[in-house]
């Protein structure tokens, strides 16, 4: 290990690994630090992703694909299923392997990686971030870098230490519990989303199929809901009613920051990517693909800044992210605020009228239009989503 690097990445999730890889590909010396013992473990995720979201960054590989997805089923509070067919659209991943393989692509590009390295402070000189302080197996250490990339997830603190406002409004935090269960009898090509006051008010409950009759099951509710009833009690109720004796293989809490991107995601010497930058799609709660996109932009720009010997160049990242996805997330956020406040009756009505459309015309766009037919202002937003 060196004593200083061009670029230090904090956190080895998908956003961090892709940032490290793209930076290393520019010829920069890169070190990625991860607090946990293992890259990829524990998994706190529904593991669903679109095919396009994966293919931009890594060749799909059956070793980390647990299911191939071609349908969405949206289940309204009265149990009506609205099914949309997509063709071969996405995957349910085995993230434990996926994250690990992504980190290996960063390593292949030349990045160094160190686990069990808990970053607990930044070196800041004259208002510029110049490195990190970290604990490695009980020893406090420091490393200098031209750029620090904070990829430290929902629990990110790196940005705050650099003076960026990163904490998230508790109403925008989707507080989740997620389990992997076995003997779940669902279609293995369908992602199931359940809505309603009883299952996940202000969010959704999911069942995503995995290989051999297992499924990734969970839900997220806003911190506002959590004030009265926790995600865990919603999960327990659902499982008791629907799968009372399903064997549970994994069980964990998690958080999805479901908001628009932070106002500022770069400052002198520092860039934020993935959940740390709040780059999650606020409508779906999906953050693997968008985090990798954020990571790729930040990594490349950081590498170029080093090459050009122009530290201020990293500040162009905010705009590039905004143009690629940030803008779109602002629209998704407005749609989310419309949809997640629907009453149970409204969800039921939408599902019924959607099912009266001829099968071949049941598209996601059509569903949104049905959903929002009484809310013209949102219709304009939705039109934009499908145009961008």
């Amino acid at each position: 290990m060196k004593t200083d690097y061009d670029i230090i990445v904090v956190g080895a999730g998908p956003a961090g690994s892709i940032a490290a890889r793209f930076a290393a590909e520019q010829g920069a010396s890169v070190l990625m630090l991860e607090k946990d013992r293992d890259v990829g473990y524990p998994v706190r995720c529904g593991e669903a992703i679109s095919k396009a979201g994966v293919s931009e960054f890594i060749e799909p590989d059956e070793r980390w694909i647990s299911a191939h997805i071609s349908k969405f089923a949206l289940i309204s509070p009265d149990g009506t299923e609205a099914v949309i067919e997509f063709g071969d659209a996405g995957y349910v991943l085995e993230r434990r392997i996926f994250d690990y393989e992504l980190a290996k692509t960063a390593a292949k590009a030349g990045a160094e990686i160190l686990t069990r390295a808990y970053v607990n402070g930044l070196i800041i000189e004259n208002g510029k971030v110049c490195g990190v302080k970290y604990d490695y197996r009980g020893q406090q250490k420091e490393l200098r870098a031209k750029v620090v990339i904070g990829a430290d997830g929902v629990e990110s603190r790196v940005g705050r230490w650099a003076g960026l406002k990163t904490y998230i409004d508790f109403r925008d935090m989707e507080c989740c519990v997620q389990i992997t269960a076995s003997n779940i009898n669902v279609n293995n090509e369908t992602l199931y989303f359940y809505f309603g006051q009883n299952v996940a008010p202000g969010g959704y409950f999911w069942i995503f199929p995995k290989v051999n009759g297992a499924a990734n099951i969970g839900l997220g509710v806003s911190g506002m809901v959590g004030k009265k009833k926790s995600a865990l009690s919603f999960l327990n109720n659902f499982m008791e009613q629907n799968f009372p004796s399903a064997p549970i293989l994994t069980s964990i809490a998690g958080g999805v920051p479901s908001s628009i991107t932070l106002e500022k995601i770069s400052a002198p010497g520092i860039m934020l990517v993935g959940d740390a930058a709040r780059q999650v799609n606020p409508l779906s709660g999906g953050g693997i693909a968008s985090g990798m996109i954020g990571g790729s932009i930040a990594g490349r720009i950081a590498g170029e800044a080093v090459k050009k010997n122009n530290p201020d160049y990293i500040l162009t990242y905010d705009k590039e992210w905004h143009n690629r996805l940030g803008k779109r997330h602002e629209i998704f956020e407005r749609i989310k605020n419309g949809i997640y406040n629907f009453s149970d009756e409204k969800f039921n009505k939408i599902a019924h009228s959607f099912n009266s459309i001829p099968k071949e015309k049941r598209t996601l766009g059509r569903l949104f239009t049905t959903a929002l037919v009484n809310q013209p202002s949102l219709l304009v937003d939705i039109a934009k989503v499908f145009i961008i």
Binding site: V154, E155, Y167, M173, G223, G226, G255
Partner: protein, 73 residues
């Protein structure tokens, strides 16, 4: 009885570390950067906490409790 001291008087926020899943929801919503979270270790940084309870509401598995009486030292 001696109590832990928060920024705004007695500390009333109690994390049950043995039951925690280390997911980081509470850290993400804390406006004061008052929670330290490592791989399998979590605690409140007392002198920063304002007892706002946002972390309590955001914990998906109910392992942060609001204790009006104050958390004993």
């Amino acid at each position: 009885m001696k109590y832990r001291q928060a920024k705004t008087g007695k500390l009333m926020i109690d994390i049950l570390p043995d039951k925690c899943d280390y997911c980081g929801c509470c850290v993400g919503v804390c406006p004061e950067d008052a929670i330290e979270l490592k791989e399998a270790e979590i605690f409140i940084i007392d002198e920063r906490c304002t007892n706002c309870a946002k972390c309590v509401w955001s914990c998906p598995i109910e392992v942060i409790k609001f204790n009006k009486e104050g958390v004993p030292a």
